[in-house]
Amino acid sequence: MTNQVLDIAELHERILNGESNARSLVDAALNAAEELNPSLNAFLEIDRKGSQQRADQIDEAKESGALAGIPIAIKDNLCVRGLQTSCGSRILGDYHAPYDATVIERLLKAGAVIIGKTNCDEFAMGSSNENSAFGPVKNPWDLARVPGGSSGGSAAAVAAGIVPVALGSDTGGSVRQPASLCGVVGLKPTYGRNSRYGLVAFASSLDQVGVFGRRVRDVATVLGVIAGRDTHDATTADVPVPDYAAALSGDVKGLRIGFARALFGEGLDPEVRTAVMGALEIYREMGAELVEIELPNTKYAIAVYYIIATAEASSNLARFDGVRYGFRAEEADELRSMYRRTRDEGFGPEVKRRIMLGTYVLSAGYYDAYYRKAQQVRTLLREDFRRAFESCDAIITPTSPTPAFLIGEKTDDPLAMYLNDIYTVTANLVGVPGMNVPCGLSSNRLPIGFQLLGPYWSEPVLFWLGDAYERARPFTERPPIHA
């Protein structure tokens, strides 16, 4: 009996009735992380001593919070006091956060034990994890393949059974796409559901902290802990946080699920199409009503995204200048050359590419043609979704156009890499929640997932639908690299 096959509620129950304790769960997670990390490269830091101390405290005090004693992994762009925050970049040097992000504070209050920080694409920019300055994460289903990105380390840690849940961040699909490629559940909540205080900013109008788990119910439990208004983040909305896990009934009769035929066309891997269509059919059998919808402007989403995200990134990443924290290039005798050398040596190629693209679209003479135009098409995308949700309660799309691709396959072609995000970026541009649910394996045993999208604040509906699917078709397959 290990913590690898039970969900959080079951683990919680075992701790409460004395069959298990925080220390043994945390030790199992630490051992698995240390054993598997040489193959996966999923963790950049494993906090054995700190997490063991914390587990002992929880056992001693008999803490009974919703996550008491539950081991969790955190993407390395979220600040955890005393641990490193590298964002997968050299420019942060040996930075150790002096404070906790709000979502971290809330996890700790609920009794969660942070076992380590996970690898990611540099500043969360990437769809394959190959942009980490500390080497790519490997997919536990096939070590020659990418885990997706940018939160690939968190996805791989959950898929490999090291932890039951992990946090990531999702700016254009960085939780949902790696969840799909690794065969786990991954949620990007409504914009403003979670605090971004202590999340290192990439594109502030798109970034949202997301949750990975093996089960929908676990993701629901963690969201319930971290969600809600935070005075440190003015973009968090004053919207009540329901008891997400309590509402899961398995019954989807009468729910209307939308699908857009255009999203199942060109560029979609045939095996992914079959699997996602199969999921639609299962919902129909369970009593949901399928509704055909149109999202005419989604074909422009990638173009809109790579203008807005890079524009915001070029501004947010201006703070990395070698003055207040992190790395500073040596041998610069003048301020401007210190800035330039620090940024040249500190940032990797994809980050530089995006900073330059963002600088270009915001520069004098081009602002209206690119940035303003993109924000106008973003309005049209929002209209598309508002109209679609008049006739359905949720939308199903593929999460990723293909299963996990090979490491190195797309590194020379940034645009081809961007097109991986075709199904996920719209949720960030519109602000609606989205969740990946695993729904099968390809013929070469790589996970496939579908994406559920809902209106603003419809996380309960996404959990309801995702949980019902899990009950009908439990995804019990395990990758070859597993604790």
Binding site: G93, P98, Y99, Y191, G192, S204, S205, T231, A234, T235, T236, A237, D238, V239, N297, Y300, A303, Y306, I307, S314, A318, V323, R324, Y325, F327, R328, D333, E334, L335, R336, S337, M338, R340, R341, R343, F347, P349, K352, R353, I355, M356, L357, T359, Y360, S363, Y370, K373, A374, Q375, Q376, V377, R378, T379, L380, R382, P414, L415, N428, G431, Y456
Partner: protein
Amino acid sequence: MPINESDIEKIAQLAHLEITREELLVFAPQIAEIVSYVEQLNEVDTSGVEPALGGLTPEGERTHSTREDVVTPSLGQQVALAEAPDPAFGYFRVPKVL
């Protein structure tokens, strides 16, 4: 007008990035390709469409984010300087400006 190498040099300067000749040769065609891809937005009729302003939902727009103007604890000078590459005498020290 396709974006060229001298545009990339100018952008790099604006962004405080020092890029090498080799990087320039790689980045210029890549950025040109991405820019020409995003230019497909020109085919969308956006006349009279209000640009979106940020990511807020309607509920987020309605949320009041003001608070009482009271002093609350902060990191403090010592902690704030602890991660700086070259702190000195309670300040961030930088190379000469002029």
